[in-house]
Structure formats: C-alpha cells, structure tokens
Assembly symmetry: D3
Homo-oligomer: 250 residues x 6
C-alpha cells in the first residue's frame, strides 16, 4: 500500500517531522511519500489560512491521487478534508480526525493541547465539523511566542506537559491529543510524564490511512460525498480544473 | 452607507439577479455596489467549490474592503464568511446567514428550499456551522436538471412552490427560505402562493448588512475573530498576501 | 413604514430610553411610536412578571396592531413574543431576539451582560426558547443593588464594562450583548472600552423590525404560528378577547 | 396531605374529569380539592391562551396556596409552572411534566398523543422547556373537529388508540402519554388495546404531587427558583399583587 | 401494593439504611420488602461493578418478581435497570432515576452530590443514559477516604453540606440530589442547612415505585422494552436462565 | 504484536467468522488469537444479554490480558467495553466502536444495517454511549426469522443489500456499517452492489486494535478510566475477583 502525506503548510521541516513520526509506526507492507505545499503560509493557524491550505490540498491531490491508496491531510484542522473526500476516490484522513478518533478508543473525553492561542478558534470549528464536540473535554493552548515553528516542540515540551496536566485535572480529560503538525513525534517522548494516554496525530493518521487502504472501500457513487458532476471553471490550477471537469485520467 | 455585494460565482447574470433583489429593499441612505468573482466556477454547489469561492471572497475583500461600510458574501453556503470576518474590520454577512436569521424572526423552524440535489450537503454544513440546526426543519431540493443557472427560477418556480408546500406540510416548516443566488428575487413573486412567510436571501442580506453598518460595531481586537497576527506567505493573490502580512493600508 | 415599540414595563422613563436608542438608527423612510404598559411592574425581571408583561403586550397589540407595519416587544426576555407572533399578522421582534441574532452576525459566540442577578434565570429560558444556547457563551450579571431603574446604566457603566471584559477573557465571548431595557443606548457609549463588538438591543430591534416590514412577509396561514381558530373567552381585556374571537376588524 | 388541583381552563366539566381521574389513585392519607379558572378560555390550546392560563394559575395560587401541601397545574402545557415554582413555597406539579416523567420510568422514549392539531406547537414548547426533547419520540395529534371538549375522549377513543399504534410502530414510542385535560381518565379504559404502557396525566400528577408533599422539600432560598424580592405593581389581581409585594401572610 | 427493594451491593447495613429511608414515606396501602445481593462487592462504584451488580439485580428479580407490584434497583447508577425493564413485567425504578426525576419537579437544574471521587464516571454515564444531561448542573464528589461505607453519611455530613453549597453557588444548582445508597436518610437531616430542595433517593424511589404500581401500566408487548423472545443459555443462574428461556411460571 | 479477539457469544462458529474476517486484513507484524465465551447465550441481542456478555468479557480478560498487546470485544454492542477499559492496561476495542469510527473517516453520516429487529434498542444505546448519535443516520434492521446464526449472512445477503440501499436513499447514509458478529466477512462480498463505502466491523476492529498496540499508549493513572482501587468481592469468577482485588500478577 502506498500512502501520500500532504503537508498544506509551506515549511519543509514540518513535512520531515510529520513523516518521521508517521514512519515510526509504518506497517511492513506500506510505503509513505510526502509533499509540501508550494503555495500558502509557513504554518496554517487561522480560518483564512485553512482556505488557502485547502486549495493546496486539492491541487496536490489532483496531481497525485492516482498513484496512492490513501492520503493524509497533515494539518490539525484538516483543511479541505470534506472537499478532498468528495472529489477523489481514495480514502483521505485528516490529522485532527485521526487523532481525535484514536482518542475516542482510549477513553471517554479527550483534550486537545497545542502550542499557540491563535489555533483555538480553528480547532474548535474542526471538532464541531467532525461532530465530536461531546467527546472533547477542552482545547488548551499555550500563551506566549515561540522561536521557530520547526523547533517549537522542544522549546515548549515542559509547558505542554503542564498544560496536559491541567486538562486532566481541571477539564476531566481521559486522553490528551497533542495537536498541530509541529508537535509530531512529541507524544512518544513525553508520554511517561502524562498519566493518561497521549495521542500523536501523525502516527494515528498514518495507521488509519493504512487501515482504510486495507479495507479497500469503494468510492461513493451516492450520498453526500459522491463525486460531483463535471463542471467548467476559470482560473484554477490546471490539475484541479481538469479533475473538476472530469477530464483527468482517473 | 456603502455596501459591497460579492458574488463568488463567476456568472455575471447572477450578480445582476442578486443586486436587483437587494436594491428592491435598499434603505434611502444606503448605496450598493457589486462584484463578480473572476476565478472559480459558474455556480458554486460543492465543498470543493466553496473553498474556491472562499478564496475569491478573500481576494476581492482584500482589494476593496476599505471603500465599504459592510459586505455581503452572496452565495448561500457563505463561502469564506468566517475567514472574512477575522481578516477584515467591516461587517460581512452571508446570504445563508441572512436568510436563516430572518426566518428565525418570522417563525419557529424554517425549511431551506432549493433547485438542485447537489446543493444539499454543502447547505447542511452551512446550517451546522451557524449553529442553527435546531431551527432548521429540513433542506429540500428539486431533482432533475435545469436549463440555465440564470433562468432556473423561472423554469422551476412551480416546482419550488410545490416543494415549499411539502416542507410546510410534512416537515413542519413555519418559514420558507428560498436558497441559492439563482433564486434571488423569486420570493416576492411566489409569496402569495405559499401559506407561510417566504424569505428572499438577497433582500435579507442587504438589510442586515445595512443594519450592521448602522450599528457601527468596533472590529474585534479579542475573541475568536480578532485579526490574526501578520504572517508571510507564498504564491497568494497580491492583495490577500498584503492583508495577511498587515502590509495593506487599512 | 410605521413601527410600534411596546414597553411591557410600566416605567415611562424606560420607554424614553428605548425610543431614543432606537431612533438613533431609524432609517429615513421609517417612523417609530412607543407605548408603555399600563398594567404590571416597573421592571420585569422574573418568570411571573414575564407572564404579566406578556399579557400587556397582547392587550396593547390587540388595540394597536392594525396601524403598524411591525412591532417590537421591548423587554429583553421577549415576553409574549410567541403568542404575539401567532395572534397578529404584522412581524413582531423581541429585544433579546434582535440583540442575539445581531450578535450572531458579528462573531461566533456572544455573552449577555446585564445589571442584576435576578434577571439570569429568565434570560436563560429566553436564550433556550430561541434555540440559541449553542451560540451563547455566558450570561453575566452584576451583583449588588442599584439606585434607580432608569439611571442604572450610568451608575453601573464601569462595572458593566468590567463584566464584559470577564465574559471575553473567561467565557470566550466574541460579541457582547448589553441586555435589558434599562441599558438601552449604553452600547454606543462604551464600545470603545470593549475590544469586541457590543450590541445595543434597542438599536438592533428597531433595525430588524424595519427590515421585516420592508420584506413584507405574508402572515402564516399554516405552520405553528398560523392564527388560531376563533374562541370565546371570559374576563379578558376587551380588545384581546375580540382578537381571540376573530371579532376585531383586522 | 392536602393537594389543590388547579384547572386553568374555564370549563367545570374538565375539572370534574381531572378530579375523578386523580381520585382513582389517591393515597389513603391524602385529600384533593379542585378549582376552575374564572378568567380565560374554555380550553387552552395556544401560546396566547397559555399566558392567560398562567395568569389564572398565579392568581388562584396567590389566594389559596397557604392551605395546601402541594398543587397541580392541570393543563398539559403546564401554563405558569415556572412562575408558580418561583413565587410559592409549596411544590407545584404540571400535568405534562407529571405525565412525561412517569413515562420516563416506564420506557426509553414516549409519544404524546392528543385530540387536536392546534395543541401541537404549544406542547412541543412544553417538552423543550422541561428538557425532555431527547426522550420524546413524537407528538401526534388527531385531525378533524370534535363535538364537545368535555366529551371528546368518548368521541375520539378509537381514533386515539389508532394514533397511539402509529406512534408505537412508526415513531418508536415505548410509552404513550395521553395528553390534555379532556383525556383524563381515558388511559385506564384503553390500556388493554395499546401494547405499551399508557400514562394518564391526571393520575400521574396526583401521585407526584403527593410524593413531593411527602418528601417535604424546603422551598428554595437560592438558585433560579428562589422567591424574587418584593416588588410594587399596578393593575394586577389583588392576591397576586400582594404576593409579589411580599405583603401576603405566607 | 407490595414493593421489593433490591440492594445490589453485598452490604446488609446499606439495605437497612435504604429501607429505613424508604419506609419513612411509605403510603398506608403499601408494603416494602428488601433483599441484599449475595454476589458482588460491598459497595458498587465502577463500571465493572455495575455489570456485576446488574447480574445480581437480574438474578434476584428472576427469583422474586412474581410476588411484587414494583421493584427498586437501590444503587445510584441504576445497574441493570434497562435489562430489568425489558425482562420483567412489573415496573422497576432506579435510585438515580427516582432522585433525578424528583429533582426535575423541584427546580430547573440539579446537582448530584456524593461522597467519593470513584463514583463520578459511573454516575455521569447514568445521567446520560437517562437523557438528563441538560438538567444536570454538575456532579460533585468529596475527596478523601472514609472509614466505613455504612457510616459515611455521619462522618461526612458537614463536608457534604459544604459541597452542596458549592454546587448551588458555583454550578447554579436549583436542587441537590444526595447520591449513593450510603447517603440514604441523610437528606431529611441536613435539609435545613441547604437553601434549595434536597432529594433523598431512597424516599423518592419508594414513592415512585408505589406510584407506578398504582397506575398499573400494562407491560410492553411492543417497543424497545418488549420482552425478548425465548433463548437458550449456558452457565447462568438458574432462575435467570429460566426467565430468559420463557420457562419460568410468570 | 499479539491481539486477542473475544467473542462474548457462546457460538464457536461466530468466532471463526470473526477471526477469518479479521485475518484478511492482518498486518504482517501482528498475530491474532481468539476465544469464545463459555457462559452466556448463543448470540447476544438484548440489554440483559449485554450484561451477561460483559461479565464474560471481563472474566476472559482477567485470565488472558497479560499475554496480549490489545483486545477486541467482538459483539456489535461492545458489551463491557467501558469496564474492560478501566480494569485493564491494554487497549480494548469494541466491534461497534471500530466500525463506527471507521465509517466516520469515510463519510459524514453512517447507517447501521443488521439482520434482526431485536438488535435495534441495544445498538441505539451503544451509539449513544459512544457519543456518535450525530453521525448516525439510522439503524435499519431486517424483519423476519432466520435459519441459523452462523449462516444468516448468506441467507439474508440480498435483503441486507436492499436495506442498505434504503438507508442510502431514504436516510441519507454516506457509509454503511454491517453490524453484528454474524455478518463478519460479508462487507467485502457485497461492496460492489452498494454505492457507498461498506464497513466490515471485524476487519475494522482488527486494524484499530493493531493501531492502538502500535501507538503504545500508557494505561491511564488518572481520568475516568484510571484503574479503580482494590476491592474485595464475593462470588465472582476467580480471575476477575483477583483483578478487582489487585491480587493478580499484572
């Protein structure tokens, strides 16, 4: 099975972090490729940037979906996940979705713990879109600036552990989801300091993508994610325009 | 007061329909301009196209927001509404939002009635995003093809009235929201044939935009819609990149 | 267009406060009259008093609805709003409803901020009746007595600003709704001290009433707000009894 | 223990029906008095009439509460129940509340079955006010006119049994609540024809009122139902005005 | 009427506490028997123990249901209540259910106050199973060990009153439910120290069981609690196996 | 990694069906053992039997958990899943949970399709326990008897496909979950006849169990699933009693 990890952020170092975490749980029969968005912002953290990132996800999938059995949208708010699911036949898993659904199997309610205030509103909308508000005990975010997006997990590890402890003790979290591509790989390093299960979203996403590929679901011809009818467009990236027009090969 | 109506579809004829309906309820102290998206699809009806349309909304607002007191996102699913609200200081109202909130003042539960099956899933997500699921009795959509997007309201008027009657009698709708830019202006023409209030979203949006402009709210410096911090980007439309970077004049 | 503002409290000074705030955003083509309840309490703040106030609203509307294009129930808990909507053909807007729906267009979640503990339970029931619990971040009320109901907004302005700040910082409010007829006109005076949009309910209600009048919805003949069949009664105010009996002129 | 059954309808024959049903399950140590509203409509079925009925309940309780250990608001939509609970120290139970809570102990979800379309909207608001929407499978109402409010249960018995069967088979009802004062006493007569438990609300209300009296709860001095502070009023029924003013003896 | 109180805990002293509280409100025409589980744990407080307790409830009811008009599952989480309700024809009331539904008649939202942290998760699941999450202001539990399960109400009375006060003041509780079989009989002793109604669950359960017996509902032949078809089994307690196989006498 | 599949039904043939389906997607580095309940019923389908099955799950896990990295509760209603999760340190996945969470990654709303009416009520409670009611479009069950529990999937395959089509067309299902151990392995055989993704729960459960084992979460020492304190018991299966008493080796 071949899986494509799509980093909708433009920062290559994040793609490496994500891939490394994902590879640590790669099943023997699976291969992983990754790609970094060429257009957008270094690190998506707002509703505006989620639209920008969603466009990148759709463009990349239009170009490359035919070569893969499943794909991962590797930013926590899952930009473009619904669109990707309706437009392509292969399973597509979001980083947030994968982390949250994994948490659901490890306890009753989970808390999302992340490194920057700016991420909260977008994450909340993502939780709601997935219909998991009832399972989410809280979203907790660190205050304060950070030095570098690719290094924030080292810089803030201790503070994130403290924040997780607050989520457990004050919000009733049964599970901690460390959220955001820049925290990929952190969960295994801090799990012994946190007294409930801690989920690494990149690990979870890789495994779930492999699971969906293994289950080989047929792409929907009916229902709310059936592929839309062909449509003309103006000014869109070429591969995406062809996909929307049903003029791609797939 | 100056209001900008943004049609995120690329069809000029829809912009005219929308403007005409809006102008029919223009308060004396208000002026209305309109603009049609240069990039995208003739008529947005999917999650994919909502992302595309959201980009157009953001680009257009980046270029023109400084000249207006309020803006309207004139497609029923309100593409980019959350992003627009966090990125700009002027009030921005969505077509769906305006129609649904108006309906809330005219009865208990409303039904959304529209002309094409393809619109259902996106509209449902829009209702949920606005937190109005409890007020929505149903979303009803016509089956069957239509000849022309700019003429669909004439072609389908009788069928839409029938569909509204089903929503009233079978789903318990107190109010009908005729949904979709192509239906702009239809409500006043069919209201005598429907035994509950019928909302024209373009009319509602114009009035609510004027209301918000009149109330002159201060743009948020706190809360989930406070303007995000400046950020660099790659490959975005110029005006949008400048706005995201806090390098525009506003 | 002619709008009637009904103050279900018996305090004339509140009617003046409400009217002044409403007039500050009056569209050029609209006129506003107001009326104060002759029966009831100086200031409604309990479930009991809401029933009393609801009776006054129904009696006043029975006498005067035929002369207006829309009406406002000018107490925050919207006493009698559902009954008024089923009994009369003109649109009727509640102060709470108008404030909350306006807030919905300005952010994600709003907090209701008011001047007395006693108001909380009734306001909570009002939020729930409108199906807006998911959009309401909190209801915050000042402790402590106040000198005069018609002067409480001056006396408590600073404390109300503080309370709004708590709602923003602790409850995650994106918008503040200053609630209660006695706070009419305060929002424009304190909005520069509060870093999110602040809604004045009297202003909002006036504008929404004018909007509904402009949209000219047909009164419902079906649905849950269709006018009930004629019925006899004993001991009710004369105009109300005639309206219930379908023996009024309208 | 002494219990007062308050019929907020003005029809004496309904008071007799209600009392007879209630008396059929009267515990040996309990006595029951009843009273019929002097003001209002023969049979409450709308939001407007619920306000009128609520006034009657408050007036009657103001006059007579001191002589009783508990009271019953004997109309299915429980007019004035919240107000009664905040204004008086004795427990007050509503007909709808009693029927629905009893149903909750007999199955998972209940359906409300009643004899007239007009009752639906008010009943739905009552279910929601009690927070029991998740337990309510449906509200089913007969179409068609009836001859006499005091005889409707005989006239419509067969149709009501049919309607109950539909609720069981199509809506998944585990329990049937026969709703409306005019159906008091019907449940025991038709229960052998309905294959799930059937609740008589008057019976349930009598028993719950006796239970609350037996438990002797202290009236709330805190919380949302604590008695409001004394307040002046104009034009209210004398006993009610005294109670609101804290000038009654109790 | 004959009622059976089933203590699914193995501690006889708790059965006595429960019976004594229940008897204090026994209607004159009712008799009460009680039984203590022979298998299980001294005091149920976890999900695991709820399954164990549920088995005991089913075994005891299989042996004894034919002699009673109603039964009480006398542990706060209501172990086995759904199973008991589907397997037997007599009404079965849970301790939690009885306490919570009583609280619903005494105010808007209740808080559950209990003596040990361990009980929280199970109680929360119980609240949700009954669909009463919207009426539950909070579940508050004491920290710290206790000396003896049969004496904990004396030892902790003052702390429980303090905890109730916190629920009232911080969580907005209108009613306090003292939860857990070991607190049976405590409510009447502390009610004068708590400024809102306080519910004793054993008292409430006895009264509700008597009420259901008085209403004489027919056991369901349809719906989700209709008795399941006969089935063979292996290794179950004899009476339970016979009941499941439809080979018991009832 | 070693995974234990626990069939809480007493039918060996179901264990074989479950194992075969699970093995079809076994990752190369994983082994699967299975065990059939010695106590209980041939096929669990009621609330009563869920308690019986939950006891079997706990007894089996008490005996064997130390030899495995993860376990599967292989009956659709997930009997004992919460108890197992609090009592043991290894991850435990339920058949229903695995199927539903997989469906969540393949579409918006799923329908549960199964072969017998009797299963509906228990399945509904299972959906609610997992907090997935908002994602569940419907539960659809075949009417009519079946010949043999181990052969029902062959006998009813065509009818189940028809039922799935109804769920898609009438209930709006985006994904079909074929529910119940007896349907294990059916999904891959019928997926070409159903125009949306179809989930095999045994396959999904095997993959998710392997995923959780790969992620190696630390067992909770805090939160609602932390292992309960040691407790004595009477009459329980020996291994379970030792586990509850903290006297087992693990």
């Amino acid at each position: 099975m071949k899986i494509l990890l799509i980093n909708p952020n433009t920062t290559e170092a994040l793609t490496e972090l994500l891939s490394e975490a994902a590879r640590s749980v790669l099943p023997p029969d699976t291969t992983l490729d990754s790609v970094t968005a060429a257009v957008g912002v270094p690190y998506i953290s707002t509703r505006t940037e989620a639209i920008v990132g969603g466009m990148s996800v759709l463009e990349i999938l239009s170009e490359r979906h035919a070569d893969y059995d499943a794909a991962i949208v590797a930013a926590f708010g899952d930009p473009g996940i619904g669109a990707a699911r309706e437009l392509f036949d292969i399973p597509v898993v979001g980083l947030a979705e994968a982390g949250m659904l994994t948490a659901c199997m490890l306890g009753g309610r989970f808390s999302i713990v992340t490194f920057a205030q700016a991420l909260g509103p977008w994450y909340r909308e993502c939780v709601d879109w997935h219909g998991l508000g009832g399972r989410c005990a809280s979203i907790r975010m660190l205050n304060g600036a950070f030095r570098s997006i690719s290094d924030v997990q080292c810089e803030k590890a201790d503070l994130l552990v403290d924040l997780a402890m607050q989520a457990i003790e004050q919000d009733g979290a049964d599970v901690i989801v460390l959220a955001g591509a820049p925290l990929s790989g952190l969960a295994p390093m801090v799990r012994d300091r946190i007294p409930v299960p801690v989920v690494d979203c990149a690990q979870a996403a890789l495994r779930h993508a492999a699971t969906l590929a293994a289950l080989r679901p047929v792409g929907p011809q009916k229902g709310s994610f059936a592929r839309p009818a062909a449509k003309a467009s103006v000014g869109l990236p070429k591969a995406l325009a062809l996909r929307i027009a049903h003029k791609d090969c797939a």
